[in-house]
C-alpha cells in the first residue's frame, strides 16, 4: 500500500523530464492518427453525408483525384507566398537598417509600419485588387503581413549589440561597413531568424487572404481560390483537400525556416543548442 503511494509522488516530482526523442516525434503522429480514426468512425457510423462532413478517407481520395488541379494551384500560392516572403525579408531588414541609421527616420516612419500591421489585411486586400494586377496584389498582401515581424525583430536585434564589442570596433577605427557586416548584422541574426520564422507562416496567410478576396470576385488560380470555388459548388471534400494542402505547406515552410535558423545559429546561439 505504502509502496504504491510512493510511486506517483516520485513521478510528480520530475514533471518536466524530457521524453526520449523518438517518442517526442511519435507522440504527435499518434495523436493525429487517433483524431483521424475518430473522425472517420464518426462519419461512417452516423452516416454523415460528404457535403456536410467528408471522411478523411474521402478527402485523401479527392486529393489524389484532383491532384493535377490542386497541385497547380498550390504552386501558384507558394510562388506568391515566396515572393511576398522575400520582399518582406528584404523590406523588413532594409527598413530596419534605414531606421537604425537615424533616430528621426524611425520616429517618422515606424508609426506607418504599425498602422499597416494593425489594419486587418482582409480589409486591405479588396482595395489592392482594385489597384494592382491580381498576382501583384496577392504578393503585396503577403508582404504587408510578413514584413512587420522582420522589421521589428531586426530593429530589436540591431539595438542589442554588446556595448563593449561596439567599443572594441571603435577602438580599432572600424568603418561603418565593417561595423554593419561584422558586428551589427551578426548580433541581430538570432532576432532576424526569429522574425523570418514568424514571417514565413504570415506570408502564406497574406497570400491566402488575398486569393480568397480575389476568388470572391470570381477570378484567380491559387489554392485559396480553389477553396472559394469549391465552396460555391458545394464540393466540400475538395475544400478539405485544398485546406489540407495549405496546412502542409505552412508546416513545411515553418520547418524549413526552423532548420535554416538552426543551421545558421547552431555554433553560438543558445536558441540553437541541443538540450543537455
Amino acid at each position: 500500500m505504502m509502496g504504491q503511494d510512493r510511486e506517483p509522488a516520485r513521478a510528480m516530482s520530475q514533471p518536466d523530464r524530457p521524453l526520449p526523442k523518438t517518442l517526442r516525434v511519435l507522440l504527435p503522429v499518434i495523436v493525429f492518427a487517433l483524431l483521424m480514426g475518430i473522425w472517420e468512425a464518426t462519419v461512417r457510423l452516423r452516416g454523415i453525408p460528404p457535403y456536410i462532413l467528408p471522411a478523411p478517407s474521402l478527402i485523401v481520395q479527392t486529393l489524389v483525384k484532383d491532384w493535377g488541379i490542386l497541385f497547380a494551384s498550390l504552386l501558384t500560392t507558394l510562388r506568391s507566398t515566396l515572393e511576398g516572403f522575400l520582399a518582406a525579408v528584404v523590406g523588413g531588414v532594409g527598413l530596419a537598417l534605414l531606421f537604425s541609421r537615424a533616430r528621426w527616420v524611425e520616429d517618422a516612419f515606424l508609426p506607418y509600419a504599425v498602422i499597416l500591421q494593425v489594419t486587418p489585411v482582409i480589409a486591405i486586400a479588396p482595395l489592392l485588387l482594385v489597384y494592382l494586377p491580381q498576382h501583384l496584389a496577392v504578393v503585396a498582401c503577403a508582404w504587408i503581413v510578413a514584413f512587420f515581424p522582420v522589421l521589428s525583430n531586426t530593429l530589436l536585434g540591431l539595438k542589442s549589440v554588446d556595448r563593449n564589442l561596439a567599443g572594441l570596433f571603435t577602438l580599432y577605427d572600424a568603418s561603418p561597413a565593417q561595423k554593419l557586416w561584422w558586428l551589427r548584422l551578426p548580433s541581430a541574426l538570432p532576432y532576424i531568424m526569429g522574425g523570418l520564422r514568424i514571417a514565413g507562416g504570415l506570408s502564406l496567410i497574406g497570400a491566402v487572404v488575398a486569393e480568397i478576396a480575389a476568388g470572391s470576385a470570381g477570378s484567380g488560380s491559387g489554392l485559396a481560390f480553389r477553396i472559394a470555388e469549391a465552396g460555391y459548388r458545394l464540393d466540400i471534400p475538395r475544400m478539405f483537400a485544398a485546406l489540407a494542402l495549405l496546412s502542409a505547406a505552412g508546416i513545411v515552410i515553418y520547418a524549413g525556416l526552423s532548420a535554416a535558423s538552426y543551421l545558421v545559429l547552431r555554433h553560438w546561439h543558445e536558441s540553437a543548442m541541443e538540450g543537455d
Binding site: 563593449n164 558586428l183 551578426p186
Partner: protein, 255 residues
C-alpha cells in the same frame, strides 16, 4: 618619455553628476600601473577616456605617437567580450582585419599569441565552448595582436574564481615581462594591484580623484613565492590602509 599623460581630466555625466577628477597622471613607457579604488569611483571611466572610448569633459590626455594610431592601444574589458559567432582564432584576428592587415605575418602572430595564452588547441572552438578563464585568455591575446604600445585592462579577472585569477595574474606578468608594454590595470582588489604593479594609484570615491600613489618596490620577476612573502603582506597592509583613507577622503568631504 611618458607613454600616457593626463592633465586635469574630468568627466561629468549629462545629468550633472561629477564622475571623475580632476586627475593628473603620468605613466612611463613600459610601466605597470594599477588604478585601485572603490566601486563607482570612475577608474574605469578614466581608462575608457585614455583609450578614447569615452570623452573627457575637460582636460586632456596625451599618448605616445604610435599609441595614437588605431593599433596602438589594446583594451581588455571586464567581460571577455568575444564575438559569439566567431571561433577563437577569428576573434583574436579581429583587430587585424579591422585595421586592414591581412598579411601572413599577422596570421603567424595570431597563432603565436594563441600559443602564448595556451589556446592553440582551441583555435577553432567557439567562445561558448570555453571556460571563463579561457575566454579571458582569448580576450588578452586579441588585445595584444596588433602589438600595441599600451595595454589597458578594466577589471579583467574580477568575475573569475581565485585559482584562475592567480594563474592569469602570473600569465599577465609573464606577458608584460616578455613584451614590455605599458600596462594600466584597473582593479578593486588590493592583492591583485600589489602583486602585479610597480605603482599603485589609489583613487577616492566619486568623484574619483587620485588620493595617493604607492610604489611596490619588490624584486622582479615576481612569481608564486612573492604572493606568500613577508614584503607582499607588508605592501598589502600599506595599500589597504591607503585605500581605507581614500574611501573616506572623497575630496575633502566624508563619504
Amino acid at each position: 618619455m611618458m607613454a600616457i599623460s593626463c592633465k586635469s581630466v574630468t568627466r561629468r555625466y549629462a545629468n550633472g553628476t561629477e564622475a571623475l577628477g580632476p586627475v593628473d597622471l603620468e605613466i612611463r613607457e613600459g610601466e605597470f600601473v594599477s588604478l585601485l579604488g572603490p566601486s563607482g569611483c570612475g577608474k574605469s571611466t578614466l581608462l575608457r577616456i585614455i583609450a578614447g572610448l569615452d570623452a573627457s569633459s575637460t582636460g586632456s590626455v596625451a599618448v605616445g605617437a604610435h599609441a595614437r594610431s588605431s593599433r596602438g592601444i589594446g583594451f581588455v574589458f571586464q567581460e571577455p567580450t568575444l564575438m559569439p559567432w566567431a571561433c577563437v582564432r577569428d576573434n583574436v584576428r579581429l583587430p587585424l582585419r579591422l585595421t586592414g592587415d591581412d598579411s601572413p605575418a599577422g596570421r603567424t602572430r595570431v597563432d603565436e599569441l594563441l600559443g602564448r595564452v595556451g589556446l592553440r588547441e582551441f583555435a577553432e572552438a567557439y567562445p561558448r565552448e570555453l571556460s571563463g578563464g579561457m575566454r579571458m585568455r582569448a580576450s588578452l591575446a586579441r588585445a595584444l595582436v596588433t602589438d600595441p604600445d599600451i595595454l589597458l585592462l578594466d577589471e579583467p579577472f574580477a568575475a573569475l574564481d581565485e585559482i584562475t585569477r592567480f594563474r592569469l595574474n602570473d600569465d599577465l606578468l609573464t606577458l608584460w615581462r616578455d613584451l614590455r608594454k605599458t600596462v594600466v590595470f584597473v582593479t578593486h582588489s588590493v592583492f591583485e594591484s600589489v602583486f602585479l604593479s610597480q605603482r599603485v594609484i589609489v583613487m577616492t570615491a566619486r568623484p574619483g580623484r587620485i588620493f595617493t600613489e604607492h610604489r611596490i618596490d619588490a624584486p622582479e620577476p615576481r612569481d608564486e613565492s612573492f604572493r606568500t612573502s613577508a614584503p607582499y603582506a607588508g605592501f598589502c597592509r600599506e595599500v589597504s590602509a591607503l585605500l581605507g583613507q581614500a574611501s573616506v577622503a572623497d575630496g575633502g568631504r566624508v563619504a
